[in-house]
Each structure stands twice: as C-alpha cells, then as structure tokens.
Subunit: 223 residues, 2 copies
Amino acid sequence: MPTKLVTWEEIVEWSRGLANIIKRSGWRPDVIVAIARGGYIPARLLCDFLGVENLLSIQSQHWTEAAKAEEKAVLRFPYIVDMSGKKVLLVDDIVDTGDTVMLAEKFIRENWNPSEVKIAVLQWISPIAKIKPDFYFIEVKEWVWFQYPWTRLEDVTSFIKRMIYEEAKSGKSVWTFEDIVNSFREWYGIDVDRYFYEDALENLIERGFLTRKNGLYIYRGET
Amino acid sequence: MPTKLVTWEEIVEWSRGLANIIKRSGWRPDVIVAIARGGYIPARLLCDFLGVENLLSIQSQHWTEAAKAEEKAVLRFPYIVDMSGKKVLLVDDIVDTGDTVMLAEKFIRENWNPSEVKIAVLQWISPIAKIKPDFYFIEVKEWVWFQYPWTRLEDVTSFIKRMIYEEAKSGKSVWTFEDIVNSFREWYGIDVDRYFYEDALENLIERGFLTRKNGLYIYRGET
C-alpha cells in the first residue's frame, strides 16, 4: 500500500487552493460545518482563507458492525440548530466512499433548514466515491494512503501494529526500538518524528499488544 | 506590541505536551469539545494524542457591542446533546480573559448533563485570566500577540490595515507591494509566506480599504 506523508505546509496549500476554487465559483458560505474528526483542520483553515466566522461541526463516521463485518456511516451526537436562510459549506478531508459526507448532508438538509448545502473536501477519490463533491482540490485516481498530520499518532500506531503482526508470522517477535524504526521506513516508505514511534509503542504496550523488557519490545501474540 | 509567529511544529509540540500533562493527571476524557473557532486545531490534535474519538464543538466568542463599546461573550448556535455519564474536555487555544471558555463551560454543565467538565488550553495568560484552566501547556506572563497559523490571513490582513492607517497620519498613502512587505517586517518583527501578503491585500481591496492602480496600493482614507 503506497503511503504519502502529507505535511502541514501541504495542508495549508491545499486548503488555500480549495478556498480559491470556492471563491472563483462566486458562491460564498455563511456557515462552515466540519465533519468530525477529519474535517476539523481543513474547515478551520477555510474559515481563515474565506473569512467565514460561523463554524460548527457534526460527527459522521464509518462504523464497523463486528457481528456483520459490514460498514455503515452513523452520526454521533446529532443535534438541531436553526440555519434558516443560511448557506452551509460542509467540509471534510477526503471523500472516499462518500457515505459519511452524504449522511451528514442529508441530516443537515432535513433538520437544520439551510437555504443551501455544498460540500468541499481536500481530496476526492473519484474511482470509488458515490458522489462528486461540489468543491475539491485534488482528484485521486489511484489508491494511496494519505497520512494527514492530525492522525499521525493513530496511523503510526496501527502501522507498527500491522508490521509486527505480519513479521511474527515469519517468527520475529522481539524487536529493538531501532529495528522497529528501520522496518517501519522499509515497510511504508515514510519516516516520522522520533516521538511518534515512542508514543505509538506506548500505545501498543497500554493496549496489551506489546510488552517491554530490558529495552526490548516483545509481541504478545494477540491482535 | 511584541508578536510571536507560532509554527505548525510548535502547535504539534504544544498539543502533545498538553496531552501528556492530561495523561499524567490520570484523568481521561470521553469526549472532546472544541471551542470554535480557536480550539479546533488543538482539539483535533488532542484527539490523536489522547486517542479520543468523540469530537464536537461549540462556538463561544467575544462580541463587541458597538453602541456600548463593551465586550461580552456570546454563544452562537447553542444546541442540546445528551452527555450523561460522560467526561468532557473543553479545548481552546488560549485563555485570555477566560470569558468565552467560562460561558461554554457553564452552558455545557447546565444543558448537556455531563459527569465532569475540565478545560485544556495551549496557553494561559495568567495575569489577566479570570480562571485557571485545569490543564495548560504554557503560562504567559507578559503580553505577546501569539500569531497562530490558522488565523494567519485574518491577522496579516488586520496588521497591514493598522499599519497603513497609522502611516497615513504621517502622509503616506501610496504603497508598492515591496514597501508593504518591508514595513510589515519592521512593524511587527515577523515575516510570513508571500501569498499571505497577496491574499491580505486582496481582502483589503475587496473591503474598500485600498484600491490598486498601476500596481500601486492606495489607501482610501477610511477605517
């Protein structure tokens, strides 16, 4: 799986580019609604670049039903506000299937009474998305894992976990810190600040996936 | 007024430091509530560093009543959700007077029924704040304008506006682009990427504060 580490500078550049596309359309939102959690940072930057003061959020996420091995989008903490006469821009980081953004849009249209709702995202994975967002900065045609800077610890944690799980199949279950860092770079073709490796390993110890003994990290044989 | 340009790297470092302070306290939130707009980016980073999935926001802002020349905090789009049994962490970038965060906290306690509410901020201006936040990363004792990266365009726009307004008192009303950039650096002791100057000048033209003629920027004599 090719992985692309997205920098903060790219996030600013992409958000500004997205803002300019929206400006050139002639359409100006009164309110920005971020989809939690992915849309928070693009939404805040769009407020700056578009000069929008009203900012709120709604949480729409994929939810894997373990029993059914089936994903569906759900809203957490849905709530009602009055957006009568207001043009709403719904913002997320990426449209992959489009399920989460479609659910949020439907909820807002049916419950908040806005005059308009449009969708803006940094990236649109056009081959798999069920919808085309009104505004997007990058159309992604081949699958790449975009590693955004606000999910760095979560992603590094799950990346290390998968690597250790897979390597255990070949019999490797004891790792030094430097082993882990070097293998991570080889596996994923990216590198992150050292403290992300440290914090990710703390997470994996806390979750019972690893133990640490005499400075070595030992896989506990669980998933 | 001394100005400190805060980088994205510092924001990540401060947010991680704040997360570590919260972890060491032994208290773990179930839900993070960002105060819009300032708390959005610290809140999203705290979700990553603390492993918190539930994220929502509430907008609490200073509002200057023009007639009274008096500031008060107001909530925009207050809404009701059920946080029964949940520990809420309310997150903002900075506590200056503390009014906005106090208003948001009061509203949440009275309307969302949480089991606990604690407050975390990147910076606490201790000499003027009416409250001490439960968690903070930096205590600021002398007044410095912290220029956060998510308000860069808004701040550069108002900084240029003030500079041009003040310089007009000494008779200067026609500026080249390079004039503006050089004076900005002298006035504020900071420098930003070139496109922020360009976008800020577009903002000031759009607002009728400047006109552009033959590549020169001309102050229109208004505030």
